[in-house]
Point group: C2
Chain length 227, copies 2
C-alpha cells in the first residue's frame, strides 16, 4: 500500500477525503494540529474518526498561532453568526486563519519526505468557501510546484509530490453522500467554530450553517447535536 499523509481536522470534509483515499488504497498517516483554535474540541473528533476508520498512524502537532492572532479562531474576535450561505461563499470571513493551509501542508510535506511518501490528502473545498484563498485550485497547484522544489526527493527527481483534494469541486451535500458511502460516521465528526466546552455545536456559525444545509440537501439525517 502506498503511504499518504492526510490532514485530519475532525470535520466532515477531511474525514470524507481520508475515507475516500483509504478506499483508493492509500495507507494513511493522519496529521492534526493543536494550533490554539477556539474549537479545539475538533481534535477529540479527529482522534475518534481516525480510530473508527482504522487509521493507526496519527500525529497531533502542537503549534502556536495565537501568538500571531488575526483570526476569530485564534484571537479574541467574534465568530460571525447566522450568515446567509450565499454571503459565506462570497467573502473571506473573520474565521479565516492567515496562511493556515500553507503551514499545515508544509508539515505534511516534511512528514512525507521522511516517510518517502509522495501523496498529501487535503479535504479543501472551493464551492462553499470559494472566498478562502488557500482552498483554491491555483493555491494547491502552487504548493505542489513548491513541494517538488523544496525537497531532497524533488531535487533528486526521484518522485513527484501530489496534492489530492478529492472534494475540491463538490457541494456539501455531495460530500455527505460520498462520505456516507465510504463509511464515515458523521456523528463522530465536529464542524462548529464556536462550540460549547463539551463540544455541542452552536448551529449558527458559517460551518454549522453549511453543514446543516448539506445534510438537508443530501436527504441524510443530521446526527449533529446542537445546543
Amino acid at each position: 500500500m502506498k503511504r499518504a499523509v492526510a490532514l485530519a481536522s475532525g470535520g466532515l470534509d477531511s474525514s470524507t477525503a481520508i475515507a475516500l483515499a483509504r478506499k483508493q488504497g492509500f495507507d494513511i498517516y493522519a496529521l492534526s494540529f493543536d494550533y490554539g483554535q477556539r474549537h479545539r474540541f475538533e481534535l477529540k473528533a479527529a482522534r475518534r474518526v481516525m480510530r473508527s476508520l482504522g487509521i493507526t498512524h496519527h500525529v497531533v502537532e502542537t503549534i502556536d498561532l495565537n501568538v500571531f492572532g488575526g483570526s476569530a479562531l485564534t484571537a479574541d474576535i467574534e465568530v460571525p453568526k447566522n450568515r446567509d450561505p450565499g454571503r459565506i461563499s462570497a467573502e473571506i470571513p473573520a474565521t479565516y486563519v492567515p496562511a493556515r493551509n500553507t503551514i499545515f501542508l508544509s508539515f505534511a510535506l516534511c512528514w512525507c519526505e521522511v516517510l518517502d511518501a509522495q501523496d498529501i490528502i487535503i479535504g479543501v473545498n472551493a464551492v462553499d468557501y470559494s472566498g478562502y484563498p488557500d482552498c483554491r485550485p491555483e493555491f494547491l497547484e502552487a504548493f505542489e510546484r513548491l513541494a517538488n522544489l523544496a525537497t531532497k526527493a524533488g531535487v533528486e527527481c526521484k518522485s513527484r509530490f501530489q496534492i489530492h483534494a478529492p472534494l475540491l469541486h463538490m457541494t456539501k451535500a455531495q460530500i455527505i453522500l460520498a462520505g456516507t458511502e465510504a463509511g464515515v460516521d458523521f456523528s463522530l465528526t465536529h464542524s462548529c467554530y464556536d462550540p460549547a466546552p463539551e463540544g455541542l455545536a452552536c448551529g449558527a456559525c458559517d460551518s454549522c450553517v453549511l453543514r446543516r444545509r448539506g445534510f438537508e440537501e443530501a436527504g441524510v439525517a443530521d446526527p449533529t447535536v446542537y445546543r
Copy 2:
C-alpha cells in the same frame, strides 16, 4: 518604516541578512523556531543578536519536528564531521531537515499577513549549501508565488509578497565582511550543529568548517570559541 518578518536562527547568515535589511530601512519582526534541534543553543544566540541589533519584536515559535525525525538535527543520526568544503557544497547532508525552510517561511507568511507586511527576510545561501533544495533561488521564487495565492492580501491584489534573500549568491567570506560593516557582533552568533551543552562549537561539523574558513578568507579574526 516598512515592516518585514525575518527568520532569525542566531547564526552568522540570518544575523547578517537582518542587519542588512535594517540598514535598508525595514522594521524587523524576528521569528525563531524551537523545533527540537540538537543545537538548541542557537536560540540563546538569536535572542542576544536581536537585542544587540535593537530589534524588540522577536517571537520564538515552538514546533515539534522530532516527531517526524529524518535529520541529524532532529533525530538520533550522527552529525557528519571534518568534511571537505567541496563535498559539503555538492551533497545534501544528513543535517538537512525535511521541508524546514518551507515550514519556517509559512509561519513568516502568517505573521506577515497579520502585520499587513509584504516582506520576508531569509538568510539562505546557495553558494556553500548549493545542495540544499530549500536554499535555491527556484525554491524561493516558488514560495513567493505561493504566498501571493495563499493569502487574503494576495487574493485582494492589495500587495505582493516578496522574499528577500540578500546573501543568496555571496560566499561566507563576503557575508562576514558585509555583516561586519552592518554592525553584526559575530561573537554573539552561533553556527555549530553539535555544540557542547554550554554552546561551545565543535569546530568539525559542516557549519563550523564553513564558518571557520569564511573568517580566514575574509581576513577577519574569528571570535568563535571552539571546544
